[in-house]
Structure formats: C-alpha cells, structure tokens
Amino acid sequence: MSFTILLLGLFLVTYSTRALPALLIGKVKFSSRFQLFLQLLPYTSMSALVFPAILKADSVYVSVGLIGGLAALAAAWCKLPVVLSVLLAVAADLICYQMGILF
C-alpha cells in the first residue's frame, strides 16, 4: 500500500516536469535567471547527494567511499564513458574489500 503511494508520487514529480512544457509550449517564458537556476539544480543536488554521504558508502570504513569516488573521478576525468566510470569505481571497491584496504 505505502509503496503504491510512493510510486504514484514519484510518477507525479517526475512526469510533471516533463509534461509541463508540453502543455505550456509557446505560452510561458521563464526569465533567463530562473532558467539558469533550473539548470544549476542538478549540479547542486548531485553534489549534495554525493558529499559527505560518500564517506559513509561503507558504514565502518571511510576508505571504501574515498577510493571508489576517486576511481570514478579519475575515469570521468579521462573522458571514459559514464558506464565505465561506474564499473571502475565498483571494481576499485571490490579490490578494497578483497585486499583489506580498509581504514
């Protein structure tokens, strides 16, 4: 039951942002400042989701989040595709656990 409500709400908050322009196209113009604000939101919300939560990727050891995050950062910096960056981060953390690089 509660999952259905969660699902319904998630559908609404996701679909509404996509459907609104379909409804209003040509009728409303956002100010350029508000447009910029909307475009910056993904950067700020993703940053907030990553830090400082990444340090608790493992509930005990900081090194897991640190090394995985650095692996993703390095991979993306070298312009590897997003998927590869994610996989490399997972691989780096696997190595962490296997070799006991935990602090």
Binding site: L23, R33, S45, M46, V64, A75
Partner: protein
C-alpha cells in the same frame, strides 16, 4: 512500400541504440541497489516502468535504505528532475506542431540522454515518430537492465553487493566531471555545494541537508555561473 512513419520510428530506434546499450548496465546496478534497499523485484521494476528516471530511482533506493520519509523522497526527486523542464521545453519546441495528446504522451520519454541524442541529431523536420522510436528503445534498455539487476542480486557474493554501494556516487561524479572540467565557475559551484552540505549535515537530517543545499547553492550560483557554462 514502407510507410513513412515506420521509417521514422526505425531511424529513431537506430539513433537510440547507444542509449539502449548504455542504460542496460546502469539499469542492472539500479536493480541490485533496489533489492539491497529492501524493495521487491516487482517494486524495482515498477519504478522503472512508470517513473523512469535513472538518477532519481537510484536516489530513491538509497533514501529507502536510509528510511527517509516519503515526502523527503518526493521533494528530492522533484528537485533532481527540475532540469527536465528545460530539456522538455527544447524538445517540445521542436515538436510543437503535434497535437496536445501526442506531446503529453511523448513527454514521458524525455531523459538526459534521449534529450542529448535528439538535439544533436540535426533533423530538418524532427518528427514525433522519430522521437517515439528513440525514446521507446531507451525506455526498453532501462527496463531490461533493471529487471536483470533485480533478478540477479541473489547470484552475487556479499562483497560484490557491498562494492555496489558506490554506484550512485560514481554515477553522479561521472555526470558532474565534464561540467566542472569545462568551467571553473561550475567547479566552484560544486565545491560550494559540497561544503554547504557538509556544514548543514552537522545540524540537520540528511534529507533536509540535500534539499536546502540544492536550493541555496543553485540560487547562489545564478550570481556567478554564466549561461554558457551549462550549455
């Protein structure tokens, strides 16, 4: 003779293949995360079928694991999705000749990657059929991936499951890097967000921290980030 609309759907599917293949592994990661967060296979798949927002679904799984409230999850996902208003505006502007019901239907398929492919494809007359093919194949890829991920989590040992905790963070880092590499101002914005969220997290719950940081930092960002930085 093949119908014109069939050809256009086909062209759309073809353009969407890279998105399709990109979505499968990320979908697998999401599926495994969802199961780990305590969702059932059906729940994991239902989110992909009806909500269809990659980063949003991963964040949902992460927040469910943290026992965040439903309202917190809704507000966070809404903020995360606000960028789609911009993308949808651009797409709908090109499809403005379509009837309203068709526009409302096609709007469901807008994602960052579909948007990127659609605007890069320099079509003289972008058609709704083309967009339908493109978004349909992308949606399929995401759902196939999610389903595989949800069903396969039992097959993997605990250390793999633990290592997968990094997925969401790695995804976000990978999405942030191109922007911060291109523009110092965006780098400053990201650092500001990290600092602010660390500060706020000392006093507030993790959910309140995420929502407040997103809004405050983006507001501050409008004062120093330039329009061309985010294009």
């Amino acid at each position: 003779m093949t119908k014109k609309w069939a050809v256009q759907i086909q062209q759309g599917c073809k353009a969407g293949f890279p998105v399709f293949f990109g979505y499968i592994p990320v979908g697998i990661a999401y599926g495994m995360m969802g199961i780990q967060a305590g969702m059932s296979i059906w729940q994991v798949c239902a989110l992909s079928l009806f909500v269809y927002t990659g980063a949003g679904q991963m964040s949902t799984a992460a927040m469910l694991a943290l026992h965040a409230s439903v309202w917190t999850i809704w507000i966070t996902i809404f903020l995360l999705n606000l960028r789609h208003i911009i993308m949808s505006t651009v797409v709908m502007d090109r499809l403005r000749k379509l009837p309203l019901f068709a526009r409302l239907f096609l709007a469901f398929g807008i994602t960052d990657e579909v948007f990127a492919v659609f605007v890069m494809e320099d079509q003289k007359q972008p058609s709704g059929w083309y967009f339908l093919g493109l978004s349909l194949i992308s949606w399929l890829g995401w759902n196939i991936g999610s389903c595989i991920g949800a069903c396969s989590s039992v097959l993997f040992p605990a250390s793999v499951a633990a290592a997968l905790n990094i997925t969401l963070y790695a995804l976000f880092i990978a999405l942030l890097v191109p922007g911060i590499k291109k523009s110092r101002r965006l780098l400053c914005l990201v650092l500001l967000s990290c600092l602010l969220s660390w500060l706020l997290s000392q006093f507030l719950s993790s959910s309140a921290t995420i929502i407040l940081t997103s809004l405050l930092a983006a507001g501050a960002g409008t004062m120093f980030v330039k329009k061309e930085d985010v294009e």
